[in-house]
C-alpha cells in the first residue's frame, strides 16, 4: 500500500509545481503600451504592404506628407504646403531638418525615389496601383514615372495624368511614405528591419519577432504632430481575437482593436466604460454581376432593387451582430465628410416587402424568373451567419429559391471572382484607404477599375467621377460623387448592406484611448498609468 501513497504524493507535487510556476508569469516594461496586431503578410516595405497587420506598424514608424486626424481630416505631417491651380500639376514643399532614424536627411529625393520604386512594374509592388494617376505610369512596360520632378531638396512637383481634386487627401496613405537610401541598397534586409522617420522606431535590430510581436520605441527626432505621449509600443500578433480578448480581460493587453464575435454580447458588461464602439469606414455589400442570367438591362435593375428591398437590415443586424453594424444608406460610410443618408433613390435600402414583390413581378413580365439565387462567400471569414439570414429573407419575401454558396478559403473565393468564373452573386466589402467619398466609389464602380468585381460600366457615372476629380473644392467634388450615387441606386452594381462598426477596449493600465476614422486606435496619444 505504500506505493499508492507515493503515487498520490507525486500527483500532488506535480499539481503544486504547476500552479506555482504559472503564478510567477507576467510583468513588463513600464510606459510601453501593448496592442493587438497580426503578423505582417509581406516584408515591411511601404509600397508593398496592403493589409492592416503591416499597415499598423508602418503608420507608426513613418511620417508622410500628411496624416489623418481622428475625424479623417488630413493634417500636414512633413508637408509644408501642397498646392495646385489645375488639380493636375501639384507643387509639394516639405519641411526641412527631418531625419530618418539612421541620421539620413529626408529630402524630396526620399519621396521621389520611393514612389518611382513603388510604381515600377518590374518591382511588382502590391501598392503600385496607388501611383497609376501619376504621369508616365504603365502596367505594360517597366518605365519610370515622368510626372515626378525635383525642384530643390525641400520641393518637388507631381504631374498627374488627369485632374484629381482629392490628391492631397491620398498622400497620408502608407504607399506614399518616403524611403531612405538604405532601402534601395538592400530591399530584402530593409523589409526585415525598416528605417523610418515617424513617431516610433524599431527598438533594435530584429525587433520584429515573427509571429510573436514587434517592439517599437519613441523616436526622439520626430517633429510632426503625432508626438507620442508614451514610451513605445509592443504590437503583439494574435492568432485569434479570442486570445487577445482573454489578455485584455486579464490586463495583459493595453489597447485592443476589435472584439471577438463570442464576446459581442458581453464585452460592454466586462469592460464597462473601457469598451469602445464607434462608426468605421467599412462598407459591406453583395454584388450581382450583370453577366448572370436575368440580371442584365432593365430586368436586372428591377430584380436588384426587389432583392435589396426584401432585406430587413436593422432586424438582421440585431439578430446576427447584436447591433454592431449600421444599416447602409448609401455606398460610402458615415464617418467620411460629405456622407448623406438622403440621396434620392436611397429608399431601396429600406425593407418594403410589397414594393419588392411588385418590382420582381415587373421583372418577370420582361422575362420569367428561373433557377435559384445564391450569394457566395468565403467560409473562413465568419460570413455564413449573415449570408444565410439574407438569403432566407429574400426567399421568404420573393418566394424564390435562395441560399448561400460557401468557398472554403478567401484565396479560392477571390480567385473565382477575379477570373470571372463565379456564377452567383457574391459578398463584397471595402475599407477606405483614405477618408474620401471618391475612395468608396471610383475603385469599385468606374469602368475597368481595379476592384470593379461586378464589371459595372456606366458612361454617366464615369463622367461624374471625372467632373468630381477636377472640381475646385472638396464640397463641390462631393456634389458630383453624390450625383453618381443617385445613378448607382437605380442600377445597384452592389447592394448596400451595412457600415462596419469599430469596437474595441482598453485595460485599466492606460487612459486617453480613442479610435481613428479607420478603426485603428490612435496609439501615440495613449497614456500609460
Amino acid at each position: 500500500m505504500r506505493n499508492v501513497k507515493i503515487g498520490a504524493a507525486l500527483v500532488a507535487v506535480a499539481a503544486t509545481v504547476a500552479l506555482t510556476l504559472t503564478g510567477c508569469a507576467g510583468g513588463g516594461n513600464n510606459n510601453i503600451v501593448s496592442t493587438n496586431g497580426s503578423e505582417p503578410q509581406n516584408p515591411l516595405i511601404t509600397t508593398n504592404t496592403n493589409e492592416t497587420g503591416g499597415g499598423l506598424i508602418l503608420d507608426s514608424i513613418y511620417a508622410g506628407l500628411e496624416y489623418y486626424d481622428a475625424k479623417g481630416a488630413p493634417v500636414n505631417d512633413m508637408a509644408e504646403s501642397i498646392t495646385s491651380s489645375d488639380n493636375i500639376t501639384w507643387d509639394i514643399k516639405i519641411k526641412s531638418g527631418w531625419k530618418f532614424t539612421n541620421g539620413e536627411a529626408v529630402t524630396a529625393d526620399s519621396y521621389i525615389n520611393a514612389w518611382q520604386y513603388g510604381a515600377l512594374l518590374d518591382n511588382a509592388q502590391l501598392n503600385s496601383y496607388y501611383f497609376d494617376i501619376i504621369e508616365g505610369f504603365s502596367y505594360e512596360k517597366s518605365q519610370p514615372l515622368t510626372g515626378l520632378s525635383k525642384v530643390s531638396d525641400t520641393e518637388f512637383k507631381v504631374k498627374l495624368s488627369a485632374a484629381q481634386s482629392d490628391f492631397p487627401l491620398r498622400l497620408g496613405y502608407s504607399g506614399f511614405y518616403p524611403l531612405p537610401k538604405a532601402f534601395f541598397d538592400d530591399p530584402k534586409a530593409f523589409g526585415e528591419n525598416p528605417i523610418g522617420n515617424g513617431p516610433y522606431m524599431l527598438a533594435e535590430k530584429g525587433a520584429w519577432k515573427h509571429n510573436v510581436d514587434i517592439n517599437l520605441v519613441k523616436n526622439p527626432d520626430y517633429q510632426g504632430g503625432r508626438k507620442p505621449l508614451n514610451g513605445g509600443l509592443d504590437i503583439v500578433f494574435y492568432a485569434t481575437l479570442e486570445a487577445a480578448y482573454a489578455d485584455l480581460q486579464a490586463d495583459n493587453l493595453d489597447v485592443m482593436a476589435g472584439i471577438p464575435d463570442s464576446a459581442l454580447k458581453t464585452y460592454k458588461q466586462d469592460l464597462g466604460d473601457r469598451a469602445v464602439q464607434q462608426g468605421a469606414a467599412v462598407f459591406q455589400s453583395f454584388t450581382i454581376p450583370a453577366r448572370l442570367p436575368h440580371f442584365s438591362g432593365e430586368e436586372g435593375n428591377l430584380r436588384r432593387q426587389a432583392i435589396s428591398m426584401s432585406i430587413n437590415r436593422p432586424e438582421l443586424i440585431q439578430a446576427i451582430f447584436n447591433g454592431t453594424r449600421q444599416p447602409a444608406k448609401d455606398f460610402t460610410s458615415p464617418v467620411i465628410a460629405g456622407w448623406s443618408a438622403d440621396i434620392p433613390g436611397s429608399d431601396v435600402t429600406t425593407f418594403n416587402a410589397a414594393k419588392a414583390k411588385e418590382l420582381w413581378a415587373k421583372a418577370d413580365a420582361i422575362a420569367p424568373w428561373s433557377g435559384s439565387f445564391q450569394i457566395a462567400y468565403n467560409a473562413d471569414g465568419g460570413h455564413q451567419g449573415w449570408v444565410d439570414a439574407i438569403t432566407n429573407q429574400i426567399k421568404n419575401t420573393l418566394s424564390i429559391d435562395a441560399s448561400g454558396a460557401p468557398y472554403p478559403t478567401f484565396g479560392e473565393f477571390r480567385t473565382a471572382i477575379t477570373d470571372k468564373t463565379i456564377a452567383t452573386a457574391f459578398r463584397t466589402g471595402w475599407q477606405a484607404d483614405y477618408p474620401a467619398l471618391s475612395n468608396f466609389l471610383e475603385p469599385i464602380y468606374q469602368t475597368g477599375a481595379g476592384a470593379n468585381d461586378g464589371q459595372y460600366s456606366n458612361a454617366d457615372v464615369d463622367a461624374l467621377f471625372v467632373k468630381g476629380n477636377s472640381a475646385k473644392s472638396l464640397d463641390e467634388a462631393n456634389k458630383y460623387f453624390q450625383q453618381a450615387q443617385e445613378i448607382l441606386f437605380k442600377e445597384l452594381p452592389a447592394v448596400p448592406m451595412w457600415y462596419g462598426i469599430t469596437d474595441g477596449g482598453y485595460s485599466t493600465k492606460v487612459s486617453n484611448v480613442a479610435f481613428g476614422w479607420n478603426s485603428v486606435p490612435i496609439l501615440y496619444n495613449v497614456l500609460k498609468k
Binding site: 510556476l21 511588382a124 530584402k188 495583459n252 477571390r414 471595402w430
Partner: protein
C-alpha cells in the same frame, strides 16, 4: 542492434521523399490562387501578379516547382515565406516552443496518467477506481477547445494564477497551462489503458509466483506488475508525442502559443507551399525518430523482445 538502427534510418529516406512529393502535390493542387489572396479585397493587377508568380516559381509546372524546392532542401534552403523570411528560420523559431509544450504535456500524462491508472488497477472496484473512471470519461467526452476556454477563463482571467496567453518567450512556466489542457484528454486514455493493463498483469502466474516467493508488495508492484504493464502505454505515449508535436493547432491558437500548429495553420490558409511542405517534412522525420525510439524502448521493458541480427 546497430544493424537494426542503420536499416531503420535507411528506410526513412524513401519515406521522406515520398511524403514531400505527396504534400507538395497536395499544396499545389489546393484550389485558389495564393497570389490573388495577397491582394486582399483590392483589385488584382495582372502584370504585378504575373511578376510575383514568377518570383515564387508558381508559373512553373508542378514537377519543376518540386525539384526546385527539393534541390534547395539539400543545400539547406527551405525557401522563403511571403513575408520574406527564410522558412528555415521559422522552423528554428517554432519547433523549440512546440517541443517544450509537448514535453511538458507528456510529463504530465506520464506522472498523472500512469500514477492514477496504477492505483485504479490495484484497487479495482473501489471508490478511487470508480471516480477515476468517471472523471476520465468526462475529459474524454469534452472537446479540447471547451477545456481550453474554461481553464483559460477560470485559472487565468478569474483567478489570475497564469497569463491567459503565452508571451513571445514561451518559457516553461507560461506553457504549463496550455500543457495541462493538451494533456487532459490523453491522461484520461492513459489512466484507462494503464488500469486495464495492470489488472490483466496482476492475474498472471509470475505475479502469483513473486508473491509466494515472499517478495514485498512494493517490489512486486514496481518490478513485476508495473513494468510488464507499460508496453501498451509506451506505444500510446509515443504516438501521442507525435500528435502533440503536430496537432496542437487549436490549443496553440487559444493560448496564442507561437508554435508549429499555429504557424502551419496560417501557412495553409495563405497557400505558402514551401512553409507547409517544410513543416510537414520535419513532422514526418519526428514521427520516424519517435517510432524508432519506441521500438528500442520495448526491449528495455521486456527482455523477451529482441531485434533481428
Amino acid at each position: 542492434m546497430f544493424g537494426y538502427i542503420v536499416r531503420r534510418v535507411l528506410q526513412a529516406i524513401p519515406v521522406f521523399l515520398g511524403t514531400t512529393l505527396l504534400i507538395y502535390f497536395m499544396v499545389f493542387a489546393m484550389p485558389g490562387d495564393p497570389i490573388v489572396a495577397l491582394f486582399g479585397d483590392k483589385g488584382v493587377n495582372p502584370a504585378i501578379a504575373e511578376h510575383l508568380r514568377h518570383q515564387y516559381h508558381l508559373d512553373q509546372p508542378f514537377i519543376v516547382q518540386y525539384l526546385i524546392y527539393i534541390g534547395g532542401v539539400f543545400v539547406g534552403d527551405f525557401g522563403t515565406s511571403f513575408s520574406g523570411q527564410p522558412v528555415a528560420n521559422i522552423l528554428a523559431q517554432t519547433f523549440p516552443v512546440t517541443i517544450r509544450l509537448a514535453i511538458l504535456a507528456l510529463l504530465l500524462e506520464m506522472i498523472v496518467g500512469i500514477g492514477v491508472g496504477l492505483i485504479s488497477g490495484l484497487r479495482k472496484g473501489k471508490l478511487f477506481d470508480a471516480s477515476a473512471l468517471v472523471v476520465s470519461l468526462i475529459f474524454i467526452s469534452l472537446p479540447i477547445f471547451v477545456i481550453a476556454f474554461v481553464f483559460q477563463f477560470v485559472f487565468a482571467i478569474k483567478l489570475g494564477w497564469a497569463r491567459p496567453t503565452v508571451s513571445g518567450a514561451a518559457n516553461w512556466g507560461e506553457l504549463i497551462l496550455p500543457a495541462i489542457v493538451l494533456a487532459t484528454v490523453s491522461i484520461a486514455y492513459i489512466i484507462r489503458l494503464t488500469r486495464s493493463s495492470v489488472i490483466e498483469t496482476s492475474g498472471q502466474d509470475f505475479v502469483r509466483t513473486a508473491y509466494s516467493k515472499g517478495l514485498s508488495g512494493a517490489r512486486v508492484v514496481r518490478v513485476h506488475i508495473l513494468r510488464n504493464s507499460l508496453i501498451p502505454v509506451v506505444t500510446f505515449l509515443a504516438v501521442d508525442f507525435g500528435v502533440l508535436l503536430v496537432g496542437a493547432t487549436v490549443t496553440e491558437g487559444i493560448f496564442n502559443v507561437p508554435g508549429v500548429g499555429r504557424t502551419l495553420y496560417q501557412a495553409i490558409i495563405r497557400g505558402e507551399g514551401p512553409t507547409v511542405v517544410s513543416f510537414v517534412t520535419v513532422m514526418v522525420l519526428i514521427y520516424l525518430v519517435v517510432n524508432l525510439l519506441t521500438d528500442l524502448l520495448y526491449a528495455a521493458l521486456d527482455p523477451r523482445i529482441r531485434y533481428g541480427k
